[in-house]
Every structure is written in structure tokens, then in C-alpha cells.
Amino acid sequence: MKSYVSDDMIFALATCVGKSALAVFRVSGEGSIASFASCFSKPERLLAAKTNTLVYGTVTGVDDVVVSVYRKGHGYTGEEALEISCHGSLASISLMNEKLSQLGFRQAEPGEFTFRAFLSGKIDLTQAEAVNEIARSQSRLSQTLALERLGGALSARIHRNRDLLADAMSVIEVQLDYAEDEIGGDTSFPFDEITDARDDLAKLADTFRTGSLIGQGAKIVLAGAANAGKSSLFNLFLKTDRSIVSAVPGTTRDFIESNCEIAGINVRLFDTAGLRTAGEEIEAEGIKRTKALMRSSDLLLYLVDSSDPEDGYESISERLEKEIPGVEKLFVWNKTDLPSAFEMPEGFIELSVDSAEGFEALVSGIVSSLGMVSDSNGCELLIESPRQHRSLVESVRSLDSVLSLAREEECLDIISVEMKEALDQLGYICGELTSDDVLDRIFSSFCVGK
């Protein structure tokens, strides 16, 4: 924010630098239309253009362009603004850059357009964050969810709870204004209202893991003994032949990483070296790195070859829990198409990578292990900002202590300290009580042109 000012004209390329059919520049600020008109082939048309209309023309010496016009109070920033589409060649882009600079536009800082939208009151802080989340989203699901937050669904939910708590607070406060021997009698403590708000906020806070998994992508690691079928499963997920599949154990050394979508969720999928007693030094190193990777994953898929299970396969889950504690795990009983003398242990998922039988069950197992309901296609509000999560968790913690203090019949003036904390934290989420350093951190994570 240090470098943001808000009364000059800014511009930025809103599309990628690189060859494409079109490139779009965005400009915003008082005087933008008049300034741009000075280099435009039909200045009077542009100057007279109504808001939310298109004007076609030429920027002399640069390119033919289509200009979308936004008058003050309309458009994204709420300021007078233009979106200029030109040809997507590198030459056009660099000429347009030069031209806009000459006209007195300043290259925008990351997040500056959104910051101006925030300053003009068009959006609140949760919506500003949603803009950034949309920009970063890598899957359809994360896009849908962020759009919902941009629409104000998160603010509305926070405000609803805040109102509930503010009412409860006033019930507490009014009692503090009278001495204990004054009439009025003690009103009953608003347990129900506070509990309702607490539960709803806790539910919202709990969506963070899922929300951030969807937003930033889930890290799923395939593991298991050599030749358990990890690479085949990896390929099945990718539906492309990326890793080398061979019948010789120990082919995949270290690990291979790829992005894919599983049930609409963006996933970073890792195929690892088989966990085998190290035969040679290079493989020992690989195993060490594999274990580190497993520890940092959101979900571990552990494959066992049902036709040739490793020793003590019944207790694999116990062993893994000890080695890689705290990580979500799914156990896969693979190669069920081959004859087997062994019975599938409890808690495993049957799969035949070759025939893809059991694949659907595996996918829904993955979805639920990641804490998502299989049809979470945007109908549920999720959060993915760590800042929002922190405030929600703090708020719930304070409300828990409000409730337990009230049950212990602690004094109301003490309870109200915790109550105020809960309300403050909710205020931070929507930016109502936010100091400038917090704004700084939020908007500095944006990309230019947003």
C-alpha cells in the first residue's frame, strides 16, 4: 500500500505478456477518458460515450482497438475507467505500454485496481481477497467457490453472526450499567444465541482445510512397495503416459510430479520410488526424500500388490501411522484382476489399475479423505484465506471461553472481554477494523492488473 496512491491514473496489461489473439489493457482514475481520447482516432465519440459501452477506433501508430468505457461509479474500480483491447502481438503490447506512459498513466502496482475498488466501497475485504483467489484458482471448483465469496456470501455470513453476537453483547452490557442491588433482576445469559453463532463460525472455520486444498491444490503422494502399481495409477490419473512403466522393480527413482484434476479438485500428484530396503546408495537417498514428501502431503495413497503383498501387509497401516503420523491415508489393494492367495485386509480399497475397476470408488475415497463431500460443487461456502481462518479460529476460541465462563458464572465484565475479542476478530475479516499494515499484506499478494 505504501506505493499506492489513489488520485492518479493507472494502467496495466490485464492479460498475459506473450503472443495471443488479443491483449487487454486496463486504465483507471479521474481523467482517464480525456487523456486516452487525446490519442484516439474518434475523440468526440469516446468523450461522449455512455458508461458500459464499446467504442471502436485507432490509436495512432499503435493499433486498432476496442475500448470499453466505464464512467465514475461503474465498472470494477468505481472510478472512471477503460478497458482497451488491442492485438495480442508483442509489438502491440509494447507500443501500447509506451503510449499509455506518455499520456501520463502510471504502471499499476499489484492489486492496485482491486485496492481502488475496495477504497471506493465497491467491495469489502473478503471480496477483495476473493478476487485474488479467483486469479490464482487452478480448477473449476476453486473458481466457483471464490466467485461466491466475491458475490459477498462470506461477508453476509460473517455479518449475520456478528449481528447475533452484537445483540447478545448488548444483553450482557446492559446488565453492567446497573448496580447489583438495582431492580431489573438478572436477565438470563444469551447462551443459545452465542452457541448458534459459535457453531456456525466453527463450521466455517473448518472449511479452511478443504477450501485451501481446493484453492491451492491438494498434494497427493502415491507410495507403496516397488512394483505395487504406483506409476500405473499415476498414469491412470493423468490419462497420459508420463512415467516409465516397466515390470522391473525400482524403476521410478525419487519421484515424479504432475498436476491433474480429480473430481474438480486441483491436485499435485506425486509418484514415488518404491519403499524397499535400500539396495544401493542412490536408492537410499531416494527413499529418504520420498518419506519427506509423504510427510508434507495432504493425502497418501498406499498401494499393495494383492497378488504379491509385502510381508505383514495386515499391519501396514500401523507401521505407516508410526512413520508418517498425522497425514491422511488411503490403502489400496491393487491388481485385483490377478489371482491372489491372500484376503484383502480391512480398510483397503479394491482396485485394478489395468482394468480401471474400482477407480471410481477410489476417487470418491480421495474426495472424502480430503474432507470434501463428493458433490461439493460450489453450493457450500468455503474459505481459503489463512487470514480469515486465523480470525475465525480466534473468534471461536473466544466464544468457547465466553460459554465456559458463563457456565462457571464468572462476572459479566470479564466475559465481555472475550466477547469483544470475538466481535473484533469478525470485524477484521470484513476489514471493518483493519489497520493499514494488514491492508498492505493483503493487497501486496495480488498480481498486476488486478
Binding site: 450499567d177 447489583e180 462476572c411 459479566l412 472481554v417
Partner: protein
């Protein structure tokens, strides 16, 4: 210049303002309509109460007089909410109102640099620059010049009292209102409006049947309001409690049209929280009774104050409804209840220093600013007096934060939000109450007073000794064992207090009771105090972002029209204050922060 500071009015604000100015060595004149009514307790004969008791101790901690006046003249003392938490405990005392007023005048008379003068101020003198106030003109034609003027006219400016169909141009029953100054202020372009307040009837104690009432005794010993006095014991008199009943309410209902409040004669808005009995009966019609405290007006009089029965109904109706109350069947009314309507100055025209924004060297304090209550008046008087002096010295004004004292909350509320009804201080108005405990006012505020010359070296030395004792005792508890743990840990248990562990920690009793109480509260509520401290830190962050006085909101692009008008009118001193103006958008506050950052580089 005839004087450095002229204080207009001799009520609770005027007393503190005059003393603060005179004590810091400035030649001060108090002008009042009557030298016989200085420091009168015009309404109930009591000082303190929830939040108000804290204010009295704040005033004392900053070198004011109210705490010492009440300590010397109280006839009953109680700490309210003893069974509740530390933030809402507060002292309250019944005063012998005649001794109180007499001692106030005596104190003023003996104050060096202070002159008392009886006259009515009807106008202000303004320098040729048109914006610096430099003195007063009076009803008898005196023109007195000064470097600063503090206006504390209470309920007297264009005051009018009402008892049923009767009304009179008075500021208090039997005392003429003050006319002229209000018109002068309006001519000067200041906005004023009408407010209304009321007081209760006084009855002859010999005509009451106390056997039908509940008796309420004071605490013994008493912990004085003033930090310079020490715990003592003295003879106290009881108060009595009785209740209105359905017959009382019917009498009031049947005669409501005879009340000037309901008949439209009174236009001023009355206090919501300390309403007249007719207001209570009309607004809380579902309640079948209201509490009445029967309080002695002093030890040398038979007059008793019927706290809770404020009214402006005609005297015959008052007699009827009073006689319908148990214990008051034969009550002989000595003074009737009445309402008073008066001019107040919109406090949003003032800075946090209580100086007028439009006129330099002109300060307002007390009921003139729309408050209600002796304590609220006193703390403003003190701050206005200090800041009049600071202005003459050419130094920064004293501004108390909301996080430091109820005084800070009160002034910030007044100048930032204004008020539409008499503003009374409540516990709930403050955000950080654990910080505003009455027993620690001196720790927070006395060092500030010292910086303004309102605290003797001896007092500072005593304060340092107190701070040492507090930390010694905490250390001592930390290193003492009781029940298998150290005494600090033990005290965190709700059922354990210092009294219970005194056998294990005998050194404890070497410390004065005052110190023991502070330490006990500090330890018991340590976790919450720390949590609140963090909230205070976040709050202060915004209050520390200063907006320069010459800041031009017109030069700010993108500010909404409504926010711009409000910001220009209030001219907040900092971002925190700006964010408390009602109707200013959050995003406009963020925008303001951006501009300030750029301005400050």
C-alpha cells in the same frame, strides 16, 4: 489583560476549571451569578456510582478537587457491585450537600491566583481577527479581558423550569436563569439546542414512615475517593428503599396531559437513562413498580431526596402520587420536583481539548456540552482548565485516550458523535474497562497531571512508593508457598483470596489494604487484563495515526460525499477518531490512511 483565564460559572465544571488554572500559576477569575450557590448538588445528594465513581477518582488522580470535597463531606459510603467483577465496581457516597457546597467555596476562596466575582456573563469579547476570544462582558456592564475563557453555564443558559402549568425563567428552583450569553454564542455562529433534565421532590423526614421501607447502610470502613486520603471509618446515616405501585402509576397516567413534557411545552430532549417518573410509567407500562431511594440531603437537615421520582407534573399531582407510595403516605413536600430546560452547545463544535474549533482560546465544559451529572461535569472542567492553560503556554493540549479513563471516553464521544440527550456516563460506553478500574486511576493518570504541574512532588513520591509496594507484594507472593503451589498460582483459583492465604504468607499483612486489593485483582484477572491490553494495542494503533489539523478533505479523490461532510465537520485528530464518526464508510477510512501515508512520506 485583566486575567489569564476567566471561568464562567461556579458549578462542578467551573470549580475544577478554576482550580486547575489557578494551581498552575495562572491568574484566574471565576464569574458566577451567585457566590452562595457554588458547588451546589442541585439534583441528588450523592457523588459517584457506576462509571461515575471512576470519573471522580480520575479527576482526583489528575489533581482535581471533587474526590477531596466528597471525602470530607460524605454521610454514607458504599462500593457498588462488590460481588461482581473488578471492572464494574465503583464507589458512591451520599453527601451532606450543604457542607459540600460550603467546602467547595472555601477551597476556591483560599486558592492562590483565584478571584471570585458575582455577576452574570452576557457576552464574549473577540479580538479584531474575529476568531480569538479575549474576555467577557457582564449584565452590569463590566468588560473583563483574559487570554482564555472557559464556559461552564450548566442548566442556566436560557434556563426555564417547569412544574405542571407553572414555569419560570430559572436555572434552578428560585434562581434566575442566565440570559444573553446564549444569544451571543448564536450570533458568533455556534450551534445550540435545548435539553431537558429534572429533579425530584424533597420531603420532611419526620413525616415519613421508615418502618415500611428497606434500610440500606453504608460500608465500613470507607475507602476514600481521593488517592491522597486513606481508609478510615466514620459515622454514617442510612438510606431507605421503597417502591411505587399501581395506584401511583394510575395517578400519573390520569394526569399525564398536565405534564409540560407531554403537553408540548418542553421541547428539549430528556435523558433516556435517568427519566422522570412519568416517562418511566409511560415507557415501561408493563412494570408494576419502580424503585425509590429515600436519601438524606445532609446531616444538618430534615430534607430527604426521593431519588427515582423526578417529575414535572403539577404540585397537587405530585402530592397525590407521592402519598400513594408505601412509607410516604403522610410525606410533607418541602420542595417540589421540577424539570429544567436549557441551552447546550453542540459538542461536535469542540476539539478533543474542549477548545472551540471556530474560536481560539474559548473552551466549553460540563452540562453546557450536553452532559448530565456532577462527575461528568467535573472531569470536563478539569480538562478544559488544563487545556486553557496549555493554550496560553503555547503547548500541546492534554488529551486523554478512551483506553486510559472514562474521562477520555466521555470527551471522545461528545466531540466525535455529539449527543441528542443529556449524556450520562455508563460502564458500557467504555471498551476497555479492565484498564479503567477505579483503584488504579492514579497509576495511569497522576504522572500525566504531574507533567502539567497539578501534582506535588510529595504526591509523585507517594505514587512511586505505591508502585514499589505493588511490585514487592507480587514478588513476595511469587516466592511464597501455599497449598503446594506458589501464592500467585493459588490466587487464580476463584475460591481463594488473600484473606484465605494470610496464614501461609504472613508478610502479606504488612502491606496496606489498598495495595493488597490492587494486587489481588491484578493477579486474579491477569489473563483477561493481558487480552484486553492486546485489544488496546490494536486500538491505539489507529488512534496514533494523526490527521494534521490542516488536512484538506476536498483534495481527496474518491471520498464519498457523506463521509467528506462528516469528516470536515468533526475534523478528527486521528484515524481512530475518524472511524468512530457515525456514517463514515470503512473504505473511506482506508482511503484516508493511504493519503496520510503519502503525506507523511
Amino acid at each position: 489583560m485583566d486575567y489569564d483565564v476567566i471561568v464562567v460559572g461556579g458549578g462542578h465544571a467551573g470549580i475544577e476549571a478554576s482550580l486547575a488554572a489557578a494551581r498552575t500559576g495562572f491568574r484566574t477569575l471565576m464569574v458566577t451569578q451567585s457566590l452562595d450557590t457554588i458547588g451546589r448538588l442541585s439534583c441528588n445528594p450523592a457523588i459517584g456510582g457506576l462509571a461515575k465513581g471512576n470519573i471522580v477518582r480520575e479527576v482526583d488522580a489528575m489533581g482535581g478537587q471533587m474526590g477531596k470535597l466528597i471525602d470530607a463531606t460524605l454521610v454514607q459510603y458504599r462500593v457498588l457491585n462488590r460481588r461482581r467483577g473488578p471492572a464494574v465496581q465503583a464507589p458512591r457516597a451520599q453527601a451532606d450537600k450543604f457542607s459540600y457546597s460550603r467546602l467547595a467555596k472555601e477551597t476556591l476562596e483560599h486558592q492562590q491566583n483565584l478571584t471570585l466575582f458575582m455577576d452574570t456573563v452576557v457576552g464574549l469579547l473577540v479580538e479584531p481577527d474575529g476568531r480569538t476570544v479575549c474576555g467577557i462582558t457582564t449584565g452590569r456592564g463590566n468588560r473583563i479581558s483574559s487570554k482564555a475563557v472557559v464556559v461552564t453555564t450548566g442548566t442556566f443558559m436560557d434556563g426555564r423550569i417547569f412544574i405542571g402549568e407553572y414555569d419560570a425563567a430559572e436555572g434552578r428552583l428560585g434562581e434566575e436563569g442566565a440570559f444573553g450569553l446564549g444569544d451571543c454564542l448564536r450570533r458568533m455562529g455556534l450551534e445550540t439546542a435545548r435539553l431537558k433534565t429534572g429533579t425530584c421532590a424533597r420531603v420532611d423526614s419526620r413525616s415519613l414512615d421508615f418502618s415500611k421501607m428497606e434500610r440500606q447502610d453504608g460500608d465500613d470502613p470507607i475507602e476514600p475517593f481521593s488517592f491522597e486520603n486513606h481508609v478510615n471509618s466514620r459515622v454514617q446515616v442510612p438510606c431507605w428503599i421503597t417502591y411505587t405501585n399501581e395506584r401511583t402509576h394510575k395517578i400519573i397516567f390520569d394526569n399525564i396531559s398536565r405534564s409540560p413534557l407531554y403537553g408540548g411545552k418542553i421541547v428539549g430532549k430528556g435523558p433516556r437513562y435517568c427519566p422522570s417518573i412519568e416517562d418511566k410509567v409511560v415507557r415501561f407500562s408493563q412494570r408494576d413498580r419502580h424503585q425509590i431511594f429515600v436519601e438524606p440531603e445532609g446531616s444538618g437537615t430534615v430534607e430527604m431526596y426521593l431519588n427515582g421520582l423526578s417529575s414535572s407534573l403539577p404540585e397537587d399531582v405530585q402530592n397525590d402520587f407521592i402519598h400513594s407510595v408505601e412509607g410516604l403516605e403522610n410525606a410533607l413536600v418541602m420542595r417540589p420536583a421540577y424539570a429544567v430546560e436549557y441551552d447546550f452547545v453542540f459538542p461536535t463544535q469542540l476539539k478533543l481539548s474542549l477548545e472551540c474549533k471556530k474560536y481560539d482560546n474559548l473552551f466549553f465544559a460540563g452540562q453546557t456540552n450536553g452532559t448530565s451529572g456532577y462527575e461528568e461535569a467535573a472531569c470536563q472542567g478539569l480538562i478544559a482548565g488544563i487545556n486553557a492553560v496549555q493554550k496560553i503556554r503555547g503547548e500541546q493540549p492534554l488529551v486523554i485516550s478512551r483506553t486510559e479513563a472514562y474521562t477520555g471516553v466521555l470527551i471522545d464521544d461528545l466531540v466525535t458523535k455529539g449527543t441528542k440527550e443529556p449524556y450520562r456516563m455508563f460502564t458500557s460506553r467504555a471498551e476497555y474497562r479492565l484498564n479503567l478500574r477505579h483503584d488504579t486511576c492514579d497509576l495511569r493518570l497522576t504522572p500525566k497531571a504531574a507533567a502539567f504541574g497539578l501534582c506535588s512532588e510529595q504526591r509523585m513520591a507517594n505514587l512511586e512508593k505505591k508502585i514499589d509496594l505493588i511490585s514487592d507484594l507480587k514478588q513476595c507472593l511469587l516466592h511464597s508457598k501455599t497449598g503446594g503451589m506458589n501464592a500467585v498460582q493459588a490466587l487464580k483459583h476463584p475460591e481463594i483470596d488473600l484473606d484465605k492465604i494470610k496464614d501461609d504468607v504472613p508478610e502479606l499483612m504488612n502491606y496496606p489494604e489498598e495495595i493488597r486489593n490492587i494486587v489481588q485483582q491484578d493477579i486474579k484477572y491477569e489473563g483477561y487484563i493481558k487480552r484486553e491490553d492486546r485489544q488496546v494495542e490494536r486500538f491505539d494503533k489507529l488512534d496514533n495515526l494523526i490527521i494534521p489539523p490542516d488536512f484538506d478533505y476536498r483534495a481527496m479523490e474518491g471520498l464519498s460525499q457523506e463521509s467528506r461532510e462528516k469528516l470536515e465537520k468533526i475534523a478528527p485528530s486521528n484515524i481512530g477518531q475518524a472511524s468512530r464518526i457515525s456514517g463514515v464508510r470503512t473504505s473511506d477510512i482506508a482511503l484516508l490512511m493511504v493519503y496520510l501515508r503519502r503525506r507523511n512520506g
